[in-house]
């Protein structure tokens, strides 16, 4: 127990979690357990941290931990500014390509319910496919030039396509060795310390989830994917999870990667799987 506390105080997190028998947050980074066991461990960890919080409430992120902030959120979503981007996305989605076909023709069921299963692993190409890359693949298949990731058109389309799964629980699949490897690579990235601050994603979004870091409550990783793309007051705009990853990397003093980099795709795959069971609700609204 004493060695445990010394180790904790060295990391500077003494008092955060001293439960000896419970799941230790750093053990969650074990890249050998596979997806199903990982999800079970994360659920157990967060249940121990917040015994009274049902799984669905994690969809609210940091708002689940502060009634004052939650009421500001409720005021904001009376009319989410992200809806302006959503309507732009709808207009772009319904406009046919030069060849007369539309985005809906690229997806089963016209795109409805599709986002719940993204990202996905393509065993033929050994690539992760995200909503963004699937939109550009659709464009390519129909003779259109690709859209730049992060451009307002692409973000609007990502928002609209994802919204066609609103109300459905996330259901990302990790089947087979290739997918499992990509999943574990995403997990490794999540737990890897980087940057001048030497933080990993887990340092904040697991170890400090629900707690204050400076003046803000940190959101738990569980539930994050379900509300992206989101409007953020800090951005005064809607943007994607990968855009947020770039922001987080910058904040810890690490060099951000380009959108849809292999690392970010695997990280998105891992993070989305962790939100399985939580209902999609986009565009979100966050500080």
């Amino acid at each position: 127990m004493k060695r445990l506390l010394i180790a904790l105080s060295i990391i500077g997190l003494a008092g955060v979690s001293d439960a000896a028998q419970a799941v230790n947050w750093w053990d969650l980074g074990n890249t050998k357990v596979g997806p199903a066991e990982t999800l079970k461990q994360f659920h157990t960890y967060f249940k121990e941290q917040n015994p009274k919080m049902p799984l669905e409430k994690y969809a609210l992120g940091s708002y689940a931990f502060s009634p004052e902030m939650y009421s500001q959120y409720q005021e904001a979503i009376q009319f989410n500014p992200g809806d302006l981007t959503l309507s732009q996305g709808k207009a772009l989605w319904t406009k046919p390509f030069a060849n007369g076909k539309s985005y809906a023709s690229c997806y089963p069921d016209g795109g409805k319910g599709v986002a719940a299963h993204y990202p996905m692993y393509d065993p033929k190409t050994h690539d992760i496919v995200t909503i963004g890359t699937s939109l550009n693949a659709c464009r390519k298949a129909n003779g259109e030039a690709p859209l730049k990731y992060g451009s307002s058109d692409m973000v609007a389309l990502q928002t609209y396509l994802t919204s066609l799964s609103n109300g459905m629980p996330m259901d990302v699949q990790v089947q087979g060795p290739g997918a499992t490897q990509a999943f574990e690579e995403g997990k490794a990235y999540f737990f890897m310390k980087r940057g001048q601050l030497n933080f990993s994603c887990a340092t904040c979004h697991v170890a400090y989830a629900g707690k204050y870091l400076r003046a803000q409550i940190i959101s738990p990783v569980q539930g994050q994917s379900a509300h992206f793309p989101t409007y953020r007051a800090a951005w005064s705009a809607v943007n994607t999870l990968q855009k947020r990853m770039q922001g987080c990397d910058k904040k810890v003093g690490a060099v951000p990667q380009p959108l849809e980099s292999a690392d970010y795709q695997r990280l998105e795959y891992f993070m989305s799987y962790l939100s399985n069971g939580i209902k999609i609700n986009v565009p979100g609204y966050r500080p």
Binding site: M69, A215, A234, K251
Partner: protein, 171 residues
Amino acid sequence: MMSKPIERRQFLGASLATGAVATAAGLGLIKPQLAFADNVAGWPAKAFDAKLLKEAMSDSVGKTNVPVSSKVKLTAPTIAENGGAVPVTIEVDSPMTEDDYIAAVYLFVDHNPTPLASQFTFTPAAGKAYIQQRIKMAKTDNVRVVAKTNKGVLMASAPREVKVTIGGCGG
């Protein structure tokens, strides 16, 4: 000055817009970074350019000392989630009939670079003198509202302090 702004805007028309900026610039009232190229006709530039609360109030309301009334309700969070998007709700008790209605409401943030944040003109048809919007606050500060009835009676809300903090890693 603010009693019939709709007619005032219609009267001024578009032709006076650039003239107003040129004159005001000549009077040194507009600093370079705030010299708007194309002010909308009738937009009260002078009141919006005032740097101190007292100036902003005398330029808009016409008075700097307004009695507080419980009829003027201002709701804002105690701690803002984001200083760039602070929700405020204004509601002034009034029958809103042709004889007795709230004609104008002025919203101030005491120490903002330009304290007059917004100005609202109501007609009785609104039914309620109610506004909800989001404002930017540079730092922890007071937000306050002044209402003017159609008969020129002025009343103010109590000032409401909103704490604005620097974010964590959220940026």
